[in-house]
């Protein structure tokens, strides 16, 4: 199905998932304007959110099934498999976040259903970011997402830490947006357009890139670097992740990061394929992020901060996929980001269950003896940890494996080696979690009586674990999807080798 963006109907059709989600969000907004007092209202709002996410996913599926594509070069919205797959990732991350939010919001007495409205706006922003074929559209999506998430980070307004997180995130995020916007302006100055494909055409036409373009590109990378929390732009991440309510942290660590990466991939590959300079920049960024993230995580005692730094480290692994710059790299990114979303959400869900009254105080050693009392929860967290570690049999391994193939396939053997060496370091902080749960005795009697996850939270964790194990053993379908989606971003002309 070819969509012509100059025809009004086709334009609406190409924006179908976003429009569906916008419609639902407005309905939800109206709903919470009247009903926002009781637990029941909160529940209804939550289920409306789930319904919104499912129908958006269905709309996306419909477009995917009909092979929707946008005709011509100059469209502001892309319609390719990459967009559909990343959209599903955002929707899945949001849905799992909703499932673990139910009991969390009630337990922490955050009885404000606007939470779900913000969540949906954030998701909408992510979808627009991944769909944007124009730097301005990407920027709009980024701002929509960021503003919603700023508020979500400070949602627990009675706790100082949550407010601190929101303020910090807002200030630094605004800075990052400034960088990004300035970068876009310079790129516009150098090429005369903000359309990604046209920039790509201009850049390859220009031959050697001008200084203005390079500065613009550098600022763009800085702006995205903030959003994906790459070292050295990660400073905000631990504090913000730590202070925000845990389900929000989960959403930030997965959805926000995935969206920023999706946009970064599209920009780098479609607009700047002709500028070799970014490979070097990203190479170093990946190395520094992997080494820094893993080493910082090693020193953490608090589980939540450890997961925050671990998400920095995983941004480094994803940057390796980007630095490879090949089709395999893009597909590897998609596989990894799906695995990462699952395992991160699972880990945060268990953390939310454990951390009654302030999960930022849950030290890794506080999990001691959990396996004896809550075997299934401990099992789920152990699987998530092994998957984060990249252990065979889990989706995390398949993702890491694919990134390694992409990196070595692009001749980046050193990068691949650094990736595995830093993975060994990561064993130093993932394993203590397993060790505490299984190998240490309960510190005091009844240390885990208040660990609670309602049935929807448990369902979310079960989905995560099942997904991690399934994709760990049988990744064929996931792999095929990621391959076609990864290919769709790259220009069609460079089909040379088959291979992975």
């Amino acid at each position: 199905m070819s969509l012509d963006p100059s025809v009004y109907g086709d334009l609406l059709l190409s924006l179908l998932p976003e429009l569906v989600l916008t419609g639902w969000t407005l309905v939800l907004l109206l709903f919470v304007a009247w009903r926002h007092r009781t637990v029941r209202d909160l529940r209804i709002a939550g289920w409306l959110t789930i319904a919104a996410l499912i129908s958006t996913a269905a709309a996306t599926w419909w477009l995917w099934w009909n092979r929707a594509e946008v005709a011509g070069l100059a469209a502001m919205i892309a319609a390719d498999d990459f967009r559909w797959v990343t959209t599903w990732v955002f929707l899945g991350a949001a849905a799992l976040t909703v499932l673990i939010s139910f009991s969390y919001l009630e337990r922490e007495q955050l009885l404000a259903p606007e939470y779900y409205v913000l969540l949906l706006f954030g998701t909408l922003g992510m979808m627009i970011m991944a769909a944007g074929a124009d730097l301005m559209v990407i920027f709009l999506g980024l701002e929509l997402m960021s503003v919603a998430v700023y508020v979500l980070a400070g949602f627990d307004r009675r706790r100082a830490r949550s407010a601190e997180a929101a303020l910090k995130y807002f200030l630094l995020g605004a800075f990052a947006s400034g960088f990004l916007l300035y970068g876009i302006a310079l790129i516009y100055g150098a090429t005369g357009t903000t359309n990604i494909r046209l920039i790509g055409a201009q850049v390859s036409f220009m031959g050697s890139p001008s200084v203005m373009l390079l500065v613009g590109l550098a600022l763009l990378i800085v702006g995205f670097g903030f959003k994906i929390a790459a070292v050295p732009f990660h400073m905000w991440a631990p504090d913000v992740y730590d202070g925000a309510p845990t389900p929000v942290t989960a959403f930030m660590a997965t959805g926000v990061k995935a969206a920023a990466f999706a946009a970064l991939f599209r920009v780098m590959i479609q607009a700047f394929a002709g500028v070799p300079a970014w490979h070097d920049i990203l190479w170093w960024l990946a190395v520094v992020t992997m080494v820094g993230g893993n080493l910082f995580a090693l020193g953490q005692r608090s589980l939540k901060r450890m997961l925050a730094y671990s998400s920095v480290a995983h941004a480094g692994y994803l940057l390796v996929a980007l630095a490879a710059g090949t089709r395999a790299g893009t597909s590897a990114f998609l596989v990894y980001v799906i695995a990462y979303t699952l395992m991160s959400l699972g880990a945060f869900a268990v953390l939310a269950a454990k951390g009654r009254g302030g999960e930022s105080d849950v030290a890794i050693d506080d999990l001691a003896g959990l396996a004896g009392k809550r075997p299934w929860l401990a099992f789920a967290l152990a699987i998530c940890m092994l998957s984060l570690l990249g252990f065979p049999g889990t989706a995390g391994f398949i993702g890491k494996w694919y990134i390694l193939i992409a990196a070595t396939g692009a001749g980046q053997n050193v990068l691949a080696t650094i990736l595995v060496l830093t993975s060994v370091v990561s064993a130093g902080y993932y394993l203590p979690v397993i060790m505490a749960m299984y190998m240490k005795p309960e510190p005091i009697e009844a240390a885990h009586v208040d660990v609670y996850l309602d049935r929807w939270g448990r369902a979310a964790v079960a989905v995560v674990v099942a997904g991690l194990l399934l994709f760990g053993v049988w990744p064929n379908r996931l792999f095929d999807l990621a391959r076609s989606a990864g290919d769709s971003v790259h220009p069609a002309v460079t089909t040379t080798t088959s291979g992975p």
Partner: protein, 507 residues
């Protein structure tokens, strides 16, 4: 028929049984686990007869797994892996029976992990697809990590994480090397596959990158063996692990390293492995392992630690035999791998049995117990003698073949290695004397009870093997020979021509 399903069954059955054990009530766990491992053993025994030595890879099963990457589920057995598979299935029921009274908490988890571990170990030995090999290699890490970490001694957390990180470091670098090999073979032939035979046929054109790749494989396997100076995880893990854990670690897990050298590192990178300097380094490291391992074992106050260091020495012989690359030395190395599993396994069982009675692993805590527990003393003596390599026991055959075979290639190193045999006698006989002879000084030892029928049931099969392999090793050698010969030919063409055949005439 049997040939088509046996390996699948051997890999799948322990997994299923492990799940069943986990779901059953804990008091049933050990019975079900024992039954399951006996069934596993019974399934594997016909391999002995069904195996045709001259046929190379047998019982091959080959199915598509992850088609997009050219990953297949390919398994098979040849004369090198046959005995390692049989050793695994043979030691598992004994380990389970040997843990009967040692493991008192979380029994379901323990026995279930032992069964899952069985799948991992057999998987490593039969995998003919490098992806599958890698997955199995890592998968067996987790059960062992838990076995040491949950049921181990006082210092178990440290030992468990050290064991894990050492192995993980080596194996991840190997992972990168596997991927580089895969991409290399894919670019040359256009066929992207992790199949062992496919990769093996394309490694000739690697050029200088072969050095790095060999280095990565070498590190992974050398940590596992363990080769000096990468052995430091071993004493910790062996000492802290529960009896069954020590037995399996020494008996089977260490063999994965030497098996990896034989199956992958040598055939893939012959030009590097046989480079003069590399040979020199490895032979020197093996020698240090033999002599240093023996000397360190001599001063250990802890009986389990003594056995652990003796493992370093034994595996040094294996490495020497592999690198000498003559028919005798490779067969000898294979035999030592089996013998070490049997003798050292038996030693760890004995150490565990006496520990259960006295709760001390210190040699000085005992003395003169031969009068109190004559049966224990007799068996300990036989097993120690086999570990020393006394003629008539299994240990002798293996070490003799290695020394004879290696002398041709490395005369000086072999001469030095011979002193290792003497050192072994020195530390084991001294320890034996201090434990079972000498005056009975400690009154606590007077109340020791002798071996129970269950414990005898664990030890007698091992004793039978010790004598069988010591007196009549021909059936083993005959099954190994063609595969060993093929391997040597692969690495160093023409090396086996005109050499006397160890196993003699026709069956």
């Amino acid at each position: 028929m049997y040939a088509r399903w046996v390996l699948n069954a051997l890999l799948l059955w322990p997994l299923i049984a492990g799940l069943i054990v986990l779901l059953l009530p804990a008091r049933l766990a050990k019975y079900v686990a024992l039954g399951a491992s006996l069934i596993e053993f019974a399934l594997s025994v016909p391999l002995w007869w069904a195996f045709v030595p001259a046929n190379g890879m047998q019982f091959v099963v080959d199915r598509a797994w992850i088609a997009g990457w050219g990953i297949r589920y390919t398994v098979g057995v040849d004369g090198i892996s046959l005995f390692l598979v049989l050793l695994t299935t043979f030691l598992m029921p004994l380990s389970i029976l040997g843990s009967w009274s040692y493991i008192t908490k979380r029994e379901g988890g323990f026995y279930s992990l032992l069964l899952v571990l069985t799948t991992g170990m057999i998987g490593v030995f039969v995998a003919l697809d490098l992806f599958l090999f890698y997955v199995m290699w890592e998968v067996m890490l987790i059960p062992m990590y838990f076995i040491i970490g949950v049921w181990g001694g006082e210092n178990r957390l440290y030992a468990a994480i050290k064991f894990f990180i050492y192995t993980f470091l080596g194996s991840l670098l190997m992972l990168v090397a596997i991927i580089v090999l895969y991409l290399h073979a894919g670019r040359v032939t256009g066929i992207y596959s992790f199949g062992y035979a496919h990769l093996l046929s394309q490694v000739g054109l690697l050029g200088p990158s072969a050095w790095w790749l060999f280095g990565a494989f070498f590190l992974a396997f050398a940590i596992k063996v363990p080769l000096f100076p990468l052995h430091t995880w071993l004493p910790d893990a062996h000492v802290e692990a529960p009896t069954a854990g020590s037995v399996i670690l020494a008996g089977i897990l260490l063999k994965m390293g030497t098996y990896g050298f034989l199956r992958f590192a040598l055939p893939f990178f012959p030009s590097v492995a046989l480079h003069q300097n590399v040979q020199l380094i490895i032979v020197i490291l093996a020698l240090i392992g033999i002599i240093y391992g023996g000397l360190v074992a001599m001063v250990q106050p802890d009986f389990k630690k003594l056995i652990a260091y003796s493992s370093v020495a034994h595996l040094g012989f294996v490495m020497l035999g592999i690198w000498a690359l003559t028919l005798q030395s490779v067969q000898g190395a294979l035999l030592i791998m089996i013998n070490h599993g049997i003798s050292t396994g038996a030693l760890f069982f004995l150490a565990g049995m006496i520990y259960e009675r006295r709760h001390s692993r210190l040699i000085e805590a005992y003395g003169g117990i031969a009068r109190v527990v004559p049966m224990f003393a007799a068996i300990l003596t036989i097993v120690s003698l086999s570990s020393i390599a006394l003629p008539g026991t299994n240990g002798f055959v293996g070490e003799f073949l290695v020394l004879v075979g290696s002398f041709r290639t490395y005369p000086i190193a072999t001469g030095l290695a011979t002193t290792g045999v003497i050192v072994a006698a020195a530390y084991l006989l001294t320890a034996l004397q201090r434990v079972i002879f000498n005056p009975l000084s400690n009154p606590e030892n007077e109340k020791l009870t002798d071996l129970t029928p269950r414990e005898l049931a664990v030890l007698v099969p091992l004793l039978v093997c010790i004598l069988w392999l010591g007196i009549y090793p021909k059936p083993f050698l005959r099954r190994m020979e063609p595969s060993a010969r093929q391997l040597i030919e692969q690495v160093r063409p023409g090396a086996t021509q005109g050499l006397p055949v160890v196993s003699g005439g026709q069956p």
